[in-house]
């Protein structure tokens, strides 16, 4: 090896070699001179110094290049001689490398890729953490209370943001933004649903260094309630809605009450700050007054905007956070003076140049990366085994070469060249597979009715990764066979015609070790796949508590300024009447959808109840229209359902579920009781239904009457149909349009699709680990077959003797099968130990079983043993058919 690197070094860093040569020659000339010779004479004697240097350098590089060419040609000849081996090797490498490339491209897109803005590595996202006694009243943003004594959020108030900016000694600039999810826009007289709208501060574009690809950026002058409203479109929305025409500049988009003029289009690469949140339209923060009137931006109690800053080069994040904390606490004390007793928030800085919600994907990506890494490792073990058999078959040739004076390193290099060529071919094919597979995962987790998935770039990071993986793989599977083939045992190989007994035994041991480790790693993958598959199965088996079949969901969000209070209720009443009249509709209502990860939690305190310290008085709430319980198929077990009697004018009522009844009224009849300061009376008790997710148990929950609530949120029509609910989708659109054509119906999906969407990640894990473990199983199968077939071929002579001495062919068959099963058992035991050790990683992803679930592990072991026995059967049959006279003559 050192010689190899020597040559490589001189190849790349010619200058260093040259410098040394120059010095050496200078020294020589100096010595001559000192000996009294005239300098000119010395130089003459030396001849042309540059030529000498040239010659010496050529000595290094020329030989290196020449031998590389030799190796490549030699390896190519060898590979072409055995096309079967080459095909298996290239294909298994291609699958392994392709899987790794596909997963890495997703990792790259979600975890690694930097925002396509100016110097993204300098961006810092601000968030804060505080003790449980919060200083602010309202948080409208991400809020984390997983830990008992720490609250975390990324939401700031606008006044606090302004204060931070004014007292900023840390950042070059600070800017703010807030996403409003889903808005209805009216363009050219047609109402349509927008994905998201991002409201951004006036210095947002300048601060990010983001330049629109068309038109101009937003400026601080636009971020002003008295300035004319303007908007910038995302590239994808511009192409989708306006056909990518430059005439879009100046177009008018009505959002709520104001008309926004389009002034620009964002570059295609910029899609927002978080995975799955790709705003269609960017407007100044001053539009908040118009777009989200229920979130008063100027109120210091309303913490709702996200803040980002551009760090100065060389700034330490901890010092920055400390300085910002001082400013934030001053702001809190000045703006929320009543909260001096509260816990003051501390600023936390995190990388702002990458996807802001990347944290929630880490565990999935880790599991998938681990899985494909193991698949590649198995493929490498497989190849090492095949190469080992190949090298042993060629041991005579290698021995001759070494006897003729080829250095061991030279021969190793040659074998490695062959490995490298295999992995370059496999890597190239794998790159294609990866390119094809990169969108598989985003497709698997997208919502079926809303095909907006993550764009996965295939950039130079991915290409570099694939190249690196290919080279490392070549070293992993090539080095051991190369060392083994050129080991100290070469000379017996010469004498014994490549069949020295000790070498064969050694090879067989190594081959079995490799096959055994393939089995062990496959068990790990099989066990994982089994656990994820059963998790999905268990989740599907959870009874939802209502009937999800033949139930259509369709969302509505009537513009607030047109439909508020009584008018909103009227709108829904009319829409429901028309929907109920559609043929095939059995019942229809309106509510927040269940099992859609939507949550609305509020306090539930029975009148007269004394709250004890630390008591959890929260309950989940859903406000529903009449006919809800009949539509959903949720039984009323006592009292009555919410029905047409419950209007805005009548007393407030609620139906509670059994779980809440048991929790809040133990041993009492809750009917007729009131809660939350006597405002609402309980008129019925319903059966239990799951709420936001199948993973959670049934939460204590209650249902209020939609007509009695003041909420202005989007709501969803629930329509029970006699047959396939999707067939009436268009009729629902028409029915609502008859009430008001400006209220678009969006996200039309069945309840089953909705539940499936919440299981998307579980399904993705189950499917992918299933597919990868099948691949691993196939590779392990090849490995076992290969090493057993090789063992049988090498031992033909021995088997011949045994049979000549009277062994029956059934006994020989049994002997080989037994060997296979022993090998598989050792591998399986090692694999189970690995699976148990790795179980901690997957624990949080499972449902309804523990990571050491005995049934799953036993199943994986059984599958593996069966496959191993099947793979060993063919060579065993061949052994049993050995004709002793032929076998003995062969030697």
């Amino acid at each position: 090896m050192p010689k190899f690197f020597d040559a490589l070094r001189s190849h790349i860093w010619k200058t260093r070699l040259e410098r040394e040569m120059e010095e050496e020659i200078a020294f020589h000339l100096f010595m001559r001179e000192r000996e009294g010779l005239a300098a000119s004479q010395a130089r003459q004697r030396f001849g042309n110094t540059t030529l000498i240097q040239e010659q010496a350098r050529e000595m290094h590089t020329f030989r290196f290049l020449e031998s590389v060419e030799q190796d490549v040609r030699y390896a190519w000849r060898g590979l072409r001689r055995s096309p079967g081996f080459t095909a298996i090797a290239v294909l298994s490498l291609a699958l392994g490398i392709g899987a790794n490339t596909a997963i890495f491209s997703v990792t790259n897109a979600i975890l690694l890729r930097l925002l396509p803005v100016d110097r993204p590595e300098q961006l810092r996202a601000l968030s804060w953490e505080s003790g449980p006694k919060l200083a602010m009243n309202n948080i409208n943003g991400q809020f984390d209370d997983d830990m008992p004594n720490i609250r975390k959020s990324n939401a700031f108030s606008y006044p606090a943001y302004e204060y931070l900016r004014e007292h900023n000694a840390v950042f070059e600039d600070m800017f703010a933004f807030k996403r409003c999810p889903g808005l209805t826009a009216i363009i050219a007289g047609r109402a349509e649903r927008l994905q998201d709208v991002e409201m951004v501060s006036g210095n947002f574009y300048r601060g990010l260094g983001l330049r629109p690809e068309l038109g101009r950026a937003l400026t601080p002058g636009d971020d002003n309630v008295s300035a004319p409203p303007v908007a910038i479109l995302s590239d994808s929305y511009w192409r989708r809605r306006f056909g990518g025409k430059p005439e879009v500049l100046g177009a008018a988009i009505r959002l709520n009450t104001h008309i926004y003029t389009v002034i620009g289009v964002n570059p295609a690469a910029f899609t927002g700050f978080a995975v799955g949140q790709t705003p269609d339209v960017f407007v100044p923060l001053s539009a908040a007054q118009d777009l989200v009137p229920d979130v008063p931006m100027r109120d210091p109690e309303m913490w709702s905007i996200q803040v980002m800053g551009r760090s100065r080069p060389g700034l330490d994040d901890r010092q920055g956070a400390a300085a910002l904390t001082v400013a934030l606490q001053q702001a809190v004390l000045a703006q929320l003076p009543k909260k001096t007793q509260a816990d003051l928030p501390k600023v936390v800085l995190s990388e702002g140049g990458r996807n802001l919600n990347r944290g929630q994907f880490v565990i999935f990506i880790d599991v998938l990366t681990g899985t494909v890494g193991l698949v590649l490792l198995i493929a490498c073990a497989n190849l090492a085994n095949l190469l080992l058999a190949r090298a042993t078959a060629r041991s005579r040739e290698i021995a001759v070469r070494m006897a003729l004076g080829a250095g061991r390193r030279r021969v190793i290099r040659q074998i490695l060249t062959e490995s490298l060529m295999l992995s370059i071919m496999g890597g190239s094919l794998g790159m294609l597979i990866g390119y094809w597979g990169k969108d598989v995962i985003p497709h698997m987790v997208e919502e079926g009715w809303n095909p907006d998935h993550l764009a996965v770039p295939f950039d130079h990071h991915v290409l570099l990764f694939t190249a690196a993986v290919s080279v490392v793989a070549a070293l992993v599977f090539g080095l051991v066979p190369a060392l083994r083939a050129t080991g100290p045992e070469v000379s017996p190989a010469l004498k014994a015609g490549g069949r020295s007994a000790s070498q064969t035994r050694q090879h067989l041991r190594l081959g079995k070790l490799l096959a055994g480790s393939q089995i062990a790693l496959s068990i790990l993958l099989l066990a994982g796949a089994g656990l994820f598959a059963r998790t999905l199965f268990n989740l599907r088996a959870v009874p939802p508590g209502f009937n999800p079949e033949n139930l259509l969901l369709a969302s509505l969000d009537p513009p607030q300024e047109r439909y508020a209070g009584e008018r909103r209720a009227q709108f829904f009443h009319q829409a429901l009447e028309r929907v109920r009249a559609i043929p095939g509709v059995i019942a229809a209502t309106e509510a927040m959808p269940l099992l859609a990860n939507d949550v609305n939690v509020t306090a539930f305190v029975p009148t007269g109840h004394k709250k004890t310290e630390g008591e959890d008085d929260r309950a989940s709430v859903n406000s529903v229209e009449s006919d809800y319980f009949r539509t959903m198929g949720i039984a009323i077990v006592a009292g009555r359902a919410i029905d047409a009697r419950d209007t805005a004018a009548s007393p407030l009522v609620a139906v509670i579920n059994r779980t809440l009844a048991k929790k809040a009224f133990p041993g009492r009849n809750p009917l007729g009781e009131t809660f939350n300061d006597g405002q609402i009376q309980i008129v019925g008790i319903s059966a239990d239904a799951r709420y936001s997710s199948l993973r959670e148990g049934v939460p204590p929950s209650f249902y209020t009457a939609q007509l009695q609530q003041k909420g202005n949120d989007e709501t969803t029509l629930h329509i029970r149909t006699a047959a396939n609910p999707l067939t009436i989708a268009n009729a629902v659109r028409v029915a609502v349009a008859k009430v008001d054509p400006d209220v678009p119906v969006y996200d039309i999906r069945t309840q089953t699709q909705q539940i499936d969407a919440t299981l998307a990640r579980e399904r993705m894990l189950a499917t992918l680990t299933g597919a990868f473990s099948s691949l691993a199983l196939l590779l392990a199968c090849i490995g076992i077959y290969g090493s057993m077939a090789y063992a049988v071929a090498r031992r033909t002579n021995e088997i011949g003797i045994r049979m000549a001495l009277g062994a029956k062919s059934g006994e020989v068959l049994g002997m080989i099968v037994r060997e296979t099963v022993i090998l598989a058992t050792v591998g399986v035991v090692a694999g189970l130990a690995l699976a148990l050790a790795a179980s901690r990683i997957t624990a949080n992803l499972l449902f309804g079983l523990k990571p050491n679930d005995p049934g799953t592990l036993a199943g994986a072991a059984a599958v593996m043993l069966f496959v191993a026995a099947a793979a060993g059967w063919v060579p065993a049959r061949r052994a049993a058919r050995v004709d002793p006279t032929v076998a003995l003559r062969e030697e």
Partner: protein, 114 residues
Amino acid sequence: MANFKAKLKKDTLQGALDLLILKTLSRGAMHGYRIALDIEQVSAEALRVEEGSLYPALHRIEQAGLLTSEWRMTDTGRRARFYSLTPSGQRQLEEETEQWRRLTEGIARVLRYA
């Protein structure tokens, strides 16, 4: 490059120069100038080593693993590259000395016979 290859082949006495270098270095590590000087002195100035062939030869032999080199200070305090024999160089020297002896002996016999 082709040119260079041809030149190597023409240099028939290359083997002899390698042997002289190895032999000289068997007395201890020395730098290129010293090697040339020693060969001249020991051969009573009958053999003069051209620097133009000496250094390429040194590098070639080093490439073959028979020599190692390192930068050291000379007695006069200048940095110089010192070459020394490796164990395989030592072995090579013994083999080549023996071959050379047989070759010259053979040639001498032929000459005598004629």
